[in-house]
């Protein structure tokens, strides 16, 4: 398969770019931020997104979706990265759907059509400590009657405060650090014992901290098999990482484009600053990094869709690389914009903030480089 978007994917990109660029440019995000909007995104736009088939992108056709794959999810994420549009696409349409796709038929029938039609929002709760370490999950799931009793605390639950359904990783056996003993549960955020705090984040996107105190769930709420959640989680995290990496490609590309434009407009010392060779070389280097990253991310998404055994390594590469490239892009972007780049009035700082959050989201570049080393046995 060529490492290019095919015709359908290109059309999807154009349609996403058209909608997002038109309805939700960066000013849309700025508006929501300034208003400290309680929802944090536009429900109208999410409805429109759903009508365009984006909410159900990964939902099988049998359940009302488009049955598309990781590459297509990446296409949409890349466009979201360009304007920082806040939306539940990542939490619900990517993480939520790819988890539920591995559920029982009953679960799929119950939830997937609602997601595809835009009326149900989901959120995945994994992280507990300061860093993304899924195997370190300590939250307890103790058997209780026919079901389980959940105790613990989750952080960095993306879109947690608006979710209608929480997908929660907990430990039904084993000790933190072990792979066996992880189990995923579907939890109603309104259930007794669930306490939710929306956290105001540096990037003004949505996340929540959630505590679970003796939360009772039935056996029906099990997603996948008891103690065997590791493999399910892996597949969800792989596509999630690919999606965040794609968002970072869009973000990097946008920041770079704005920076190059600025280099061609801003004068200093009687010259356009783009004439200064030191800046030219740095811009050319950054361009190359972004193109290299774009290829690595597309490759990883394709390998996921192929079900290739090399997909995990490719995802580690993609997420690690996208993180360092985005970091470089926003650093160069702010520096080359000079004092103006430091002001809240310019958009460039938004990208720097978002890039930082994307780094931590599902593991930073260090985490994924380490994963690669482990996969390669050194």
């Amino acid at each position: 398969m060529p490492l290019l978007l095919n015709e359908e994917q290109t059309m999807l990109r154009d349609s996403a770019r058209g909608f997002i660029g038109d309805k939700a440019p960066v000013s849309h995000f700025r508006q929501l931020r300034d208003a400290k909007d309680a929802t944090g995104f536009s429900r109208d736009y999410w409805r429109a997104f759903s009508e365009m088939g984006f909410a159900g992108l990964l939902v099988p056709e049998a359940f009302g979706g488009s049955g598309l794959g990781a590459v297509e999810a990446g296409v949409v994420m890349e466009e979201i990265g360009r304007t920082l549009m806040p939306s539940p696409f990542f939490s619900t349409a990517v993480l939520g759907v790819s988890a539920l796709n591995r559920g029982s038929d009953a679960q799929k029938s119950e939830y997937l059509p609602k997601i595809a039609s835009g009326v149900l929002l989901a959120a995945l709760a994994i992280d507990e400590g300061a860093k993304h370490r899924p195997l370190q999950t300590a939250m307890k799931a103790a058997r209780s009657g026919n079901g389980f009793k959940l105790n613990g605390a989750k952080a960095f639950v993306v879109d947690g405060h608006t979710a209608d359904l929480l997908i929660v990783a907990a430990r039904s056996a084993g000790a933190p650090g072990e792979r066996d003993g992880l189990t995923l549960f579907l939890v109603d955020p309104k259930a007794k014992g669930v306490a939710l705090e929306r956290t105001a984040m540096v990037d003004s996107h949505n996340a929540a901290r959630i505590t679970f105190e003796n939360v009772e769930v039935t056996a029906d709420s099990l997603l996948g098999d008891v103690d065997q959640g590791g493999a399910l989680l892996d597949s969800v995290l792989n596509i999630g990482c690919g999606a965040v990496a794609a968002e970072m490609v869009g973000l990097s590309d946008e920041v770079f484009g704005r920076t190059v434009t600025y280099l061609k407009e801003r004068k200093q010392f009687g010259k356009l600053i783009g004439e200064f060779q030191a800046l030219q070389h740095r811009a050319a280097h950054l361009y190359t990094e972004i193109e290299v990253t774009r290829a690595a991310v597309l490759k990883a998404l394709q390998l996921i869709d192929d079900g290739a055994p090399t997909a995990p390594a490719a995802i580690a590469v993609a997420k690690a690389k996208a993180g360092t490239t985005a970091t470089l892009a926003v650093q160069e972007g702010v520096q080359m914009h000079g004092g103006m780049g430091m002001t809240d009035q310019f958009d460039i700082g938004f990208f720097m903030k978002r890039a930082r959050v994307c780094q931590e989201l599902l593991g930073d570049s260090n985490y994924h480089a380490d994963q690669l080393a482990r996969l390669k046995n050194y």
Binding site: G129, K131, M201, Q335, G338, G339, E360
Partner: protein
Amino acid sequence: MSDFDQFRSETRAWLEANCPPEMRKPMSSDEDTFWGGRHAKYSSELQRIWFERMRDRGWTVPHWPKEYGGGGLDGEQTKILRQEMAAISARLPLVSFGISMLGPALLKYGTDAQKQEHLPKIAAGLIRWCQGYSEPNAGSDLASLQTRAESDGDDYLITGQKIWTSYANYADWIFCLVRTDASGKKHDGISFILFDMTSKGVSTKPILLISGKSPFCETFFDNVRVPKSHVLGTVDRGWDVAKYLLQHERAMISGMGERGAGRPLGQIAVDSIGADAQGRLDDAMLRGQIASFEVDEAALACAAERAADLAKAGQAHPAFSSAMKYYGTELNKRRHEILMSSGGIDALEWESQRSHEGARPRAWLRTKANSIEGGTSEVMLGIVAKRILDLPGA
């Protein structure tokens, strides 16, 4: 016992007796800094006592002559005082741009009358100064400034706009670069002038940064009347004064890092990420990045020490402060990237109490200006290439 040893022991004893224990704690907020000025506020009675005791000794500006309210100390004595203050973590009693920036320029370029008028008020914290250098369209090309001063008898009428004027909204006076002659090259025809911020026609507006609120302001001058006697140095030669002062500023910024202050970086990371059985940070990649950073940071501290010793020995290259400014600010940005990685998810919170209103991410974002303000890294490298390496056409 040498004179210096005696000075040291006397200083130590005096500090021990006079510095209140509360003034030996690390500063926890901006309020802990005393800036002086007409509307000065003490955050505590102890802050006032500590300031007044130091002021009375001339130790708000220990190396200035006594006639201007200074301590009259020589270079070695000043160093000893700093060391002894550092040893007990004593806070600076007074911080101001009058001390760190205008003062050295006044001492070098001021007339007797100017020195008599301004220096004692700076030393005593009576007048708070701000700096009017940058302009929106000038950026790194500072000398292309457009604020004009038109001659009107014994006065100038000043009109224009400044940006990045720190604490302009709190300052009593401003030292300012204005164009007194627009006919020649851009570095000529600039004058360095002082005036009262309560003058008619002066207004300020704070700037919101990506890190949130900031001390920076936009400052507007609309036909502000200033006596010509307020020019510091020669009319139209203000660029010399500005350059002299910029070197001081750069040396200050490069030394401004948080070196050695507070908890070591590796420990901060262990606090949030944890350690393995051997006590090593449980993130091997990050640990390597911290160690590499700490190598550079420790080396920079040595370079700062050496630069000071070279200066004292009269062997310093005048442009070396540019190299240090470049290196110090880039390093400080790296430090804060590491702090963000170390804090991970917790360091992404922006407004909660738990995060002290996002102290860590705000500090991180603020450091991104380090390599822009006071001369960008690119300008610094250009100065090193030209003035130290003597590269052609630089």
